[in-house]
Amino acid sequence: MIFHLDTSTTQPLGVVLLKKRVDANNSSELQKAFAQWLQQTSNFVFDCTKLDFIDSSGLGAIVSCLRKALEHQGDVKLAALGPKVAMVFELTKAKKLFSVFSNSSEAIQSFRTVSPK
């Protein structure tokens, strides 16, 4: 999990590169870290380029990140979902909760065009 703050946008944007797996073993790690990041910004892009396995705990963690971001008037957008991960999102209807982009620069760009309040 690599986190960096992108300041090229009007408001700082948290870009998170997720690791290979987000599952029952490490999903709490993501949730804990996310609470920290929320103190710096409320807008996030989760870059899923490297993510190739996700189970329901991982999915739950990502959904809970989204919920917290929404509570802070922010958003979590997803980028570069691999085929297997995309299937899990579709199957559980979680895909409808997120804006999904084919790569992270598109996702970052989308935060620029829609000016945050």
Partner: protein, 459 residues
């Protein structure tokens, strides 16, 4: 007329990995096993005998088709070597091919036909030789025609090679959308684009949109939607609020709550995207249900409730057991057998004493009514090795060393959910029922189900 089917293992092997547990020749297309389409075609073409030749294992195909008497055609089986060409195969089946005209279908092919067309007279009049071919196989005819007629310009049938999951999906959708009246499709149908099997339970709030094929013993739960272009196999449960569209749900699959299956193939715990061939395993129990349940707390509570329940039963049954066990033992009606069973943990087995009480006489009837045959097993609940109610313990089969992975939720128990629901205790239906309850139960329901199991076992 006779028909010789030559299908090499190499041609269908790809399907084994994708849909494990079912022989590729028996893989359902619109709920009808693949081989049956060919059997139907052979019969339409006037065959009175059909031989299936392969270099792969045909055991389950033989078991399914038997000698063909069900269709009124004589079915036999032959073997070949992987390197054999079609001429060698014909030589190896010379006796079968002798004297009569033989249609030879070679390859893992689907034949598109229309049951209303006249094939029998067509095939007797066609000249010998190859009739149609495609990169993955061909259909040809031996012997000479008895009548002299003009060969028609186009034949009223065509070939579709099955060489990828995408083709399989496309073909199923093609039949579902446009070809249902061309074939014999299982199920009751009052409209030509809707087939429903036996014992199908559809909740009032569920919605079903044509064209659709639904198999036998299917449950479609509250508020779920079966959108158009779906094939639901036998013994399937579509749980609450789920949405199925343009998808094939192979038999014996459980689709959990709140799921959305769109343009996919679901088979057991596998979900396959036919376009890319990607598949994910839904072995994670949460993916089978709503995502938010707290599993750990539930598990602990369940264990406590089960242990309390078991203690209660032990106290209740101790006296009858102490009284009846020695008597029945002396009468030789108390039979015990120790066998190895799978536990929840892979690789770990548990030895259970399987008691059977011979049901003759008042005392053994009483012992059976009180479920004394399960008495000793109750102690395994206290030690946490078994649950009070759950799945029937699976015996360790040396041929299958690991727990079959169809059991995404497997909780070996003293009593089984199937017993509580009075389902037959063997067969695939049981598995589905147990699976359903294993996913849906909570500790309180478990107590109620245990009561039910105790009650039904006495009747």
């Amino acid at each position: 007329m006779k028909t010789l089917l030559v299908i090499k293992k190499q041609e269908y092997e790809w399907l084994i990995d994708l849909l494990p547990g079912v022989h590729p020749l028996l893989v359902p297309i619109c709920n009808k096993p693949f081989i049956e389409f060919l059997v139907d075609f052979a019969i339409l073409a006037g065959s009175d005998a059909l031989r299936i030749v392969s270099d792969g294992v045909l055991g389950s195909v033989e078991h399914y088709c038997e000698n063909g008497s069900r269709w009124g055609v004589e079915i036999s089986y032959g073997s070949m070597r992987p390197a054999d060409d079609i001429y060698t195969v014909i030589e190896k089946n010379r006796r079968f091919c002798l004297e009569e005209r033989v249609i030879i279908i070679s390859g893992f092919l689907f034949i598109r036909y229309n049951k209303k067309s006249e094939y029998a007279s067509l095939f007797t009049s066609l000249p010998s030789g190859e009739l149609l071919s495609c990169p993955h196989g061909s259909i040809s005819l031996t012997g000479t025609s008895t009548t002299k007629t003009e060969t028609p310009g186009t034949l009223p049938f065509s070939l579709a090679a099955l060489d990828s999951i995408g083709k399989y999906y496309e073909l199923s959708m093609e039949i579902l959308r446009t070809g249902l009246t061309h074939y014999v499709i299982p199920g009751y149908s009052s409209e030509e684009d809707c087939y429903i099997g036996r014992n199908v339970i559809i909740q009032k709030s569920a919605e079903i949109i044509k064209p659709v094929i639904i198999g036998n013993n299917v449950q479609i739960m509250t508020n779920s939607i079966i959108d158009s272009n779906s094939v639901i196999g036998n013994n399937v449960i579509i749980d609450r609020e789920s949405f199925i569209s343009g998808s094939i749900v192979i038999g014996n699959t459980y689709i959990g709550e709140h799921l959305e299956v769109k343009n996919k193939i679901a088979a057991g715990n596998l979900l396959i995207d036919p376009e890319s061939g990607t598949s994910i395993v839904m072995e994670d129990p949460h993916l089978l249900t709503a995502m938010t349940q707290s599993r750990v707390a539930g598990a602990l509570l369940r264990r406590v409730v089960h242990a309390l329940g078991a203690t209660f039963l032990i106290l209740l049954l101790l006296l009858p057991w102490l009284l009846l066990r020695p008597i029945l033992g002396l009468q030789g009606k108390w039979k015990r057998k120790r066998e190895q069973y799978f536990t929840r943990l892979p690789g770990k087995n548990v030895t259970l004493t399987n008691t059977t009480i011979e049901c003759t006489g008042v005392l053994s009837a009483l012992a059976k009514a009180l479920s004394l045959d399960r008495f000793t097993l109750l102690f395994k609940v206290l030690s946490g090795k078994l649950a009070l109610i759950g799945n029937q313990p699976l015996p360790v089969n040396p041929a299958i060393p690991l727990l079959p992975n169809t059991h995404a939720v497997y909780r070996p128990a003293v009593f089984s959910y199937a017993e509580a629901e009075e389902w037959p205790e063997i067969g695939i239906d049981t598995e589905i029922v147990e699976h359903y309850y294993a996913v849906h139960s909570d500790p309180l329901k478990d107590i109620a189900m245990t009561q039910k199991a105790l009650f039904y076992r006495t009747h």
